[in-house]
């Protein structure tokens, strides 16, 4: 008896959520609560069937209401034409402005922007690493395995990334092939990419270039000094 009295408010609370559960507009947490209650309470499940009937018939009723005639649209644009001319500088929300900005970019522009962003990130990472190494030196500690980062040392290729490649694709490509951008973007959107930290035979470099050429991220690739 006491138990059923304690359950009543909870059932009432769940029952009030049934219409939104039928419409699929509950949060995941509430939807799970309702699902659990429906599984253990047959009476609640029966009432949920009534809700689903109401849901279906409300849609049916609304769908039979028809639509406005084309006059409504004509009338709207007549009224809009009568409005004073609008200046473009309106106070849009930041989110809308960002969405609008990206929506206005072509896939090619986006791809170039992504490439530039990758380069900026790598440059920043390089600067941070440089600062850290410098700090380490001033502290009087140097590891025996510290890499030589002479920009002129190593084996290089020139790469132009495919326009449809995203920044994620490019980052993954660089990581997977243990590559790093040494310079760029240069004329024609080319990047100088280091494929090895030491010089390697020409034949070996050609083989690496051929392999990298097969990746969809690469639009153009050639060896360079």
């Amino acid at each position: 008896m006491n138990a059923s009295k304690q359950e009543a408010p909870e059932r009432q609370e769940i029952e009030e959520l049934l219409p939104w559960h039928a419409a699929g507009t509950l949060s995941r947490r509430d939807a799970q609560r309702v699902e659990d209650a429906l599984a253990r309470d047959p009476e609640l499940a029966r009432r949920y069937a009534l809700v689903r009937d109401e849901f279906a018939e409300t849609i049916h009723l609304n769908e039979t209401l028809g639509a406005p005639s084309a006059r409504a649209l004509d009338k709207l644009f007549t009224k809009i034409d009568a409005e004073p001319a609008r200046r473009h500088s309106v106070s849009l929300g930041l989110g809308s402005r960002i969405s609008e900005f990206f929506a206005g970019l072509s896939p090619r522009t986006l791809a170039w922007s992504a490439s530039a962003a990758v380069f900026a990130i790598l440059l920043q990472a390089g600067l941070i690493a440089g600062v850290m190494l410098k700090e380490t030196k001033t502290a009087g500690y140097e590891t025996a395995s510290a890499p030589t980062t002479d920009p002129g040392v190593g084996a290089f290729t020139l790469i132009r990334f495919a326009p449809q490649a995203s920044s994620d694709d490019i980052t993954k490509f660089l990581e997977a092939n243990k590559l790093s951008i040494a310079a760029g973007p240069m004329a024609g959107g080319l990047y100088k990419v280091r494929v090895a930290v030491t010089g390697i035979p020409k034949g070996e470099l050609a083989r690496i270039v051929k392999k990298l050429q097969e990746d969809k991220v690469v639009g153009f690739i050639a060896t360079t000094e």
Binding site: E16, P19, R47, E54, L61, N62, R71, G93
Partner: protein
Amino acid sequence: MQTTSDEVLISRIAGGDRLAMQVLYARHHVRVYRFVLRLVRNEATAEDLISDVFLDVWRQAGKFEGRSAASTWMLSIARFKALSALRRRPEKELDDETAEQIEDHADDPETALAKKDKGSALRQCLAKLSADHREIIDLVYYHEKSVEEVAEIVGIPEATVKTRMFYARKKLSELLKEQGIDRGWP
């Protein structure tokens, strides 16, 4: 295929883009019209109001901050317009319409036959609900609005949204019972 979001369309409308206005209108005008029609119960009035609603969208697009869905924002505007129109309507006209509705659902042979069809009876009873009850049922079931969104559109607390919906459904059961259909609830 990716479609332009309502938010992007509204930001373009704010910049005076008529094509964006046409796209937004095409996307939402039927649902907004039906919402208004269920409130004002007059097709000509509803059609006039639709132009006014979208004209407000055109005028206020720059103020839309995207905190709620565009459809929620538009339904709020539509509701305000519909209620203002109802307030302007002469008492007599309202009385006549109410009378018409009651007559519409009288027990003529067609209605008697419809009673045998539970779905049809349910739709008749949905049409007989009060404006407040019709509105909340439509928003939840047809316009698929969450508790929070209904609260925003109607301007009532979320707890009231839930109880109003509960009482709307309860009233629906009572109307069905009057037509001889006992749902065994409440």
